[in-house]
Symmetry: C2
Subunit: 257 residues, 2 copies
């Protein structure tokens, strides 16, 4: 459903782009806008470029961090025109739109800064990367134009689904971004506790784990099971009551082979 879609704009510096994005959304029947650290908002230039979509701006929610803006979202897409070196699961805009509309819960589609897009850390919060194909020699797509393309594909999918009646409300939607955030914190701490992860350089491994678990899209009860395992692992690591002498032999816990 179109009213499940949250358009999230991160670090926009030109308020005109916020207004143009609001207009782009409204022409396609999308109304939920969230702004993460906009440079200037509200702003007269945003209102001018919204050109009648003032209600979208008036209802836009402003957040300090992307994480905060995603808390109630269960399916998260990050958009990009650049081909990323990450092997993140990637969809075209049309596939993103179809997936979003068939989904039962709240969906976030994130658009990054005018100059630099989204950081790799921000992309780690996403289940999928949405790649808008562009001219390889000039991929400088305006952010409001990117919103327009996604909004257009969402509206096209909406019309098609309305005709086919294919919308399915999921009984068990994937866990929310907030719940997954807590899970990843728990996972990282556990991996440090069990000395699997170097606490000074956790990035690369955590990114791969994010990708892995986001691909699973676990539901709430599955996240609870996983966190139960993590807690058990943390407890297991607690030093045993009778300490071994320091600098002892290279004890290997696994059985022979």
């Amino acid at each position: 459903m179109l009213n499940n879609i949250q358009i999230i704009l991160v670090g926009i510096t030109h308020p005109g782009n916020i207004g143009a994005a609001a207009r782009a959304m409204k022409t396609m029947g999308i109304s939920q806008m969230r702004l993460v650290q906009p440079k200037l908002f509200p702003n007269v230039e945003a209102t001018a470029r919204a050109s009648g979509a003032d209600d979208i701006l008036a209802n836009a929610q402003v957040f300090d961090t992307l994480e905060d803006s995603l808390k109630d979202c269960h399916l998260v897409f990050g958009t990009s025109t650049r081909l990323r070196h990450l092997t993140w699961p990637t969809l075209a805009p049309k596939a993103c739109a179809e997936k979003s509309l068939k989904f039962g819960g709240k969906v976030a589609i994130i658009f990054g800064r005018e100059q630099s897009g989204l950081t790799n850390e921000e992309l780690e919060l996403c289940h999928f990367l949405v790649q808008i194909s562009t001219n390889p020699t000039f991929s400088s797509l305006n952010v409001a134009s990117a919103v327009q393309i996604l909004a257009y594909e969402l509206h096209e999918s909406f019309i098609k689904l309305n005709h086919s009646g294919e919308i399915v409300a999921l009984e068990n939607p994937p866990a929310s971004a907030e719940m997954m955030g807590h899970f990843y914190q728990h996972l990282e701490q556990t991996l440090i506790d069990i000395e699997f992860l170097d606490p000074d350089k956790p990035k690369h491994l955590m990114r791969r784990l994010h990708r892995l678990f986001n691909k699973i899209q676990p539901i709430d009860s599955e996240v609870n099971i996983l966190r139960g395992i993590l807690t058990a692992a943390q407890k297991a690591k607690t030093p045993p009551p009778s300490p071994l002498p320091m600098g002892g032999g290279n004890v290997h816990p696994s059985g022979g082979d």
Copy 2:
């Protein structure tokens, strides 16, 4: 092929929209822009919003009339967000893009004024109407955003065709808009000559005939045959050498029954 595509902007009043359209085109690999009676062009605001697509603006051709801008085009689309009362053959953006790219000759895609779009007279010059579906309660799509949507669909089709190798150069492309313009003038004059058409109110009937012949998309040799018929009809109307008395009986040329 993308370099067959002409993006034609009619009567744009805000030069920023021309620049934004140029940027939208270039991100999707489309470079041919034509402007019909732009209010301000060239203009600093157009250049600013082009944001690096200056070459598109520098190469844009400016025309006094839409007819002039279409002379070398063989397939012509007019865009609209409004549902027209005309029963013109109508395509979605995606279908327009597919048709355009599989076509062998020059293609024009026309975008109208910010406030009022294209007139019915301008739509008569088109083979197809392209309808961008929008929110019924807020269809105010920015003109550069409309260009972005079509350019995006063209680029998506281009990628798909490049993979499938389906591009077919037509041996006999439909007649050019210039040739069809002469044909319609000839047709209208002939219909007046043979007293089929009221010369004071030709509009309604001519519109229906435009639609009819544009649907046929005749090739050059077919247009020549049609014009041969028109010339024959005009000659046939020339008063016979022995004039009948004025106000004579109600002579009916058709045979019995």
